[in-house]
């Protein structure tokens, strides 16, 4: 598979007396969907926070393209092409999809108007429509507030927002939680398309059939450590559950 | 909050002692040493207001003439929570009489009753309690007479002219300004050339007063006079008339005579002021207090007259201007 895109080595993170990560490692390659699974409290969320710049590990190293990097803020991670889709959506429901897509990265009008901070809404709408089309997100209108859209469409916009700005890697924390069957498929389609564009997608999920359906590889966390790695095509739900519960472990994972 | 707390604390501490006082014949003031019957204290409604300062001047003058030692203690704001600790502080001093402008007609009843129970003669000046059993005398302006005087003054200013007149009141239920408006309404009916178009409430906000004046002007272009029942309505009315370009053409009669209002009278923004006579209120309060201390007959209710000031006679009546210091 060649050189890993993102690699975490022996990350340790403690909150007071609680050890959330005890030497956790993680690897993601370009052009793949890697699922990160583990029981509640295994350290998935903490690991993602450390890798997306929200938290800083106490020790251990993070490498991007084999080079050590410091991710001391979400902005720093974003600058390196790493984006995150949060479980709780984090969209502004009163803004339209285009405004949400460009939130914090608004385009300004060229010329003097732009110096005063005047926004180029037309261009943002055009580009947003283009991005939604590319990602297969169908919206009746890009003019309505996002709060007026269905749950699936809202989630698609949230996913699209991260994907559009990511150039290297996207973390998705339970992106299909609380979605219906049809809506879930739509989001997973987006995930596949992103992978096909050559990005790495890290999917955090509790849903084993979904993990098997969409991922290329699976990495398992247990008690703050990576305990197993699988190639999706050659594994089963039983194996994954075994690794998560500690019934099965791999040497050197 | 701390003043409120201290007021509550004071009330809590005092109430059992009062009960004890009924049985044993003792009083709170007793512990403070001998009563100083030759001392008199004035507690105005608020500090540094020209109206009360003028009252203080009359008070000091009359009390000194009667051979009394004087003290004046005013709350920083017109609030019963600030006035109550002053009353209880004065209680410890046990003067012969206290002249007070209660800041609340119910909340001040408790503290003032303590004064009475300690044998101190209480005289109400300017404002009064609902409970009439506390004070030996109440001295205040006859606000209705002030309103009637405003109507007469307006009629004189208008001369033979004909037109509408408006009253600007503060908030519904304000006893003093309601009395002024009532007196005005009664008196203005006697002048057939003045058409009374009613009163408007302003929430005591100058901007509302201004708006009501211009609206009345729009509806009644023959507006010839406005009676503004207090300082804020007067300021708002002056602004509204200036805005409409009718300063001087519409006769504005204001109430009270603080320095800024006197200045406006002089410069022609206001055509007349109905001035209370706070110095006389202070002097009369002292007279009543002295009578009560000496056991002579006391007038339960005294109402002092108000005076009208116009530009023509104002300098002759300058003693009625409210003072910022004696």
């Amino acid at each position: 598979m060649g050189e890993p895109l993102l690699e975490a080595r022996d990350l340790v993170k403690t909150y007071g007396s609680v050890e959330a990560l005890r030497g956790a490692s993680f690897t993601a390659y370009a052009g793949e969907v890697v699922a990160l699974i583990g029981d509640n409290g295994a350290g998935k969320s903490t690991l993602v926070k450390c890798l997306s710049g929200v938290e800083q590990p106490d020790s251990g190293s993070v490498l991007l393209d084999g080079e050590p990097v410091r991710l001391d803020s979400p902005t720093a991670a974003r600058a390196l092409g790493v984006e995150t889709v949060y479980q709780d959506l984090a969209v502004a429901p009163d803004l339209d999809p285009a405004a949400n897509l460009f939130l914090g990265r608004e385009l300004r009008k060229p010329g003097p108007l732009g110096w005063f901070g005047v926004l180029d809404d037309k261009e943002m709408r055009r580009r947003a429509a283009e991005s939604f089309r590319d990602l297969g997100v169908s919206l009746q209108s890009v003019d309505v507030p996002i709060g007026a859209l269905s749950g699936g469409q809202r989630q698609s916009v949230a996913v699209a927002r991260s994907v559009v700005w990511a150039s290297r890697l996207v973390f998705m924390d339970e992106p299909t939680a609380a979605l219906g069957v049809v809506q879930r498929e739509r989001v997973l389609d987006v995930v596949r398309r992103v992978r096909d564009q050559g990005m790495a997608v890290v999917l955090i999920s509790h849903n084993m059939p979904e993990v098997l359906a969409v991922s290329d590889r699976v990495e398992v966390l247990r008690l703050g450590r990576r305990v197993a790695r699988f190639t999706t095509a050659r594994t089963t739900v039983e194996e994954l559950v075994g690794a998560m519960t500690g019934a099965l472990s791999q040497e050197g994972a | 909050m701390s003043t409120r707390t201290s007021a509550v604390l004071a009330a809590l501490l005092l109430s059992p002692s009062l009960l004890a006082g009924c049985g044993g014949g003792g009083q709170i003031g007793d512990s403070g040493g001998s009563a100083d019957a030759k001392k008199m204290v004035l507690i105005p409604g608020v500090a540094a207001e020209p109206f009360y300062t003028s009252m203080e001047c009359g008070f000091r003058e009359a009390a000194a003439a009667a051979g009394y030692e004087v003290d004046v203690q005013a709350p920083a704001r017109f609030e019963s929570t600030l006035q109550t600790p002053i009353v209880t502080g004065v209680l410890a001093d046990k003067p012969g009489a206290v002249l007070i402008a209660p800041t609340d007609d119910k909340a001040m009843a408790g503290p003032m009753k303590q004064l009475k129970d300690a044998g101190i003669k209480v005289v109400e000046v300017d404002t009064k309690l609902q409970d009439t059993s506390v004070a030996v005398s109440s001295v205040s302006s006859d606000n209705e007479q002030g309103g009637r005087l405003a109507a007469r003054t307006l009629a004189e200013l208008v001369g033979g002219g004909t037109g509408s007149v408006l009253v600007l009141n503060t908030k519904a239920g304000t006893s003093t300004t309601d009395a002024r408006a009532k007196g005005f309404e009664e008196e203005v009916g006697k002048y057939p050339n003045l058409k009374y178009v009613g009163q408007q409430y302003t929430d005591n906000e100058p901007d509302q007063a201004a708006s009501k004046v211009t609206a009345t002007l729009a509806a009644n272009p023959d507006l010839i006079g406005v009676f503004a029942t207090n300082l804020n309505t007067g300021e708002g009315a002056a602004t509204g008339l200036r805005n409409a370009g009718r300063t001087g053409a519409v006769n504005l009669v204001g109430f009270d005579a603080s320095p800024k209002q006197v200045e406006d009278l002089r410069s022609g923004v206001v055509q007349a002021l109905i001035a209370q006579d706070p110095a006389t209120i202070g002097r009369t309060g002292v007279e009543q207090a002295v009578a009560a201390i000496e056991g002579k007959p006391v007038n339960r209710d005294v109402e002092t007259d108000l005076v009208a000031l116009t530009k023509a006679d104002m300098e002759a009546n300058s003693k009625y201007f409210y003072k910022q210091r004696c």
């Binding site: 979400p74 902005t75 974003r78 709780d88 959506l89 984090a90 969209v91 502004a92 429901p93 009163d94 803004l95 405004a99 939130l103 914090g104 990265r105 608004e106 300004r108 005063f116 901070g117 005047v118 926004l119 809404d121 507030p145 709060g147 007026a148 | 608020v46 540094a48 207001e49 020209p50 920083a76 704001r77 519904a172 009613g198 408007q200 409430y201 929430d203 005591n204 906000e205 100058p206 901007d207 509302q208 201004a210 708006s211 211009t214 609206a215 009345t216 002007l217 729009a218 509806a219 300082l231 804020n232 300021e235 708002g236 602004t239 509204g240 200036r242 805005n243 409409a244 603080s258 200045e263």
Partner: protein
């Protein structure tokens, strides 16, 4: 559709605008000779100018899902500091002073407003104290400070050039006070509707966490919004000074509520994220037109607050049911 037209039609701004037109039509039909006149138009506009400037700042604050109860007190404080500075520069009475003094007075008023706005902003955004509590505190403190400085009495001695220039002066028949308020409102509307600053204001009110995750400096932005409200309150204080020719320390107790009422009537949601300055303009004029119309038509004075309250409650109810309908999808 253009962005502005879309916004007008989508929010309840359109409805509020129709309500305003309806009120004017009713009063106009009852007393056409008194209502539909240049005089009534001019005076209504002038009398609403000061409140409008306060309300523009309030619109920004409420869109961030905050509130600013201190604007009326900051207005008083700024008026007092401005008037006292102008008097001090002219030996105690600035009545005859020139434009230089007036400019210093303006600067003092704006700075006074800015100081309170900055304090509000830092306490809300940095210290994380709820805006209701913070501005309730500064509501009392700013008024107290103003009264302390002025010894509890109104400050007079306002320069005649200010009173005659800004207060009652006109430009081609339009009162200068109205021109100033219109300019402030136009800039406020454009910044809110078309710029990044405005977009971030909506985003923070809509979902503060989302804005933070999107890389928007939420803390700094909130401080700037409260600062803006403070500066506009300072400007309003200066305008009131020109208009009334006295810095009044009483009589602005309900300015904050009047501004909030105007903003909410104009379709800005107390929940944040939704609103517009155009709506605020309409919302501010509804109570003003009602008050004026009632006096002109001669309606019983006690009806007026009832009618204003009914319209306000109806507007908020409409806003909430609109949101509920949307969230049920």
């Amino acid at each position: 559709m253009t962005s502005l037209a879309r916004r007008l039609a989508s929010a309840n701004t359109l409805w509020i605008g129709l309500v305003l037109l309806g009120l004017i039509a009713v009063f106009g039909a009852l007393r056409p000779d008194a209502v539909l006149t240049v005089f009534t138009l001019q005076t209504t506009l002038v009398e609403t100018s000061v409140l409008l400037v306060l309300s523009v700042g309030m619109t920004y604050v409420i869109i961030t899902s905050g509130i600013d109860l201190s604007v009326g007190s900051v207005l008083v404080f700024s008026g007092v500091t401005s008037a006292m500075t102008m008097n001090a520069l002219n030996g105690g009475d600035a009545t005859g002073a020139g434009w230089g003094t007036v400019l210093v007075g303006l600067a003092v008023a704006l700075l006074s407003g800015a100081a309170w706005g900055l304090l509000n902003g830092l306490l809300v955004a940095r210290a994380g104290i709820p805006p209701l509590i913070v501005t309730l505190g500064s509501f009392g403190a700013a008024l107290g400070a103003g009264q302390l400085l002025s010894d509890g009495s109104n400050v007079s001695g306002v320069p005649d050039v200010l009173g005659e220039g800004l207060g009652t002066g006109t430009w081609f028949g339009v009162p200068n006070l109205v021109l100033l308020a219109a300019a402030v409102t136009a800039v406020g509307a454009l910044v809110l509707g078309t710029t990044r600053f405005g977009r971030h204001t909506y985003a923070i009110g809509s979902n503060e966490e989302a804005a933070r995750r999107a890389g928007i400096g939420v803390t700094g932005h909130l401080v700037r919004v409260y600062l803006l409200a403070g500066v506009l309150a300072g400007l309003a204080g200066f305008m009131a000074l020109a208009y009334f020719r006295v810095a009044s320390v009483t009589g602005h107790d309900t300015d904050n509520l009047n501004a909030i009422a105007g903003v909410v009537l104009g379709g800005t949601s107390l929940f944040g994220g939704v609103g517009s300055v155009v709506g605020t303009v309409l919302g501010v004029f509804i109570p003003a037109v009602l008050r004026k119309g009632f006096v002109i038509v001669g309606v019983n004075v006690y009806w007026q607050p009832i009618a204003v309250a009914l319209v306000l409650v109806a507007a908020v109810w409409f806003d909430q049911s609109r949101r509920k309908a949307r969230n049920q999808r």
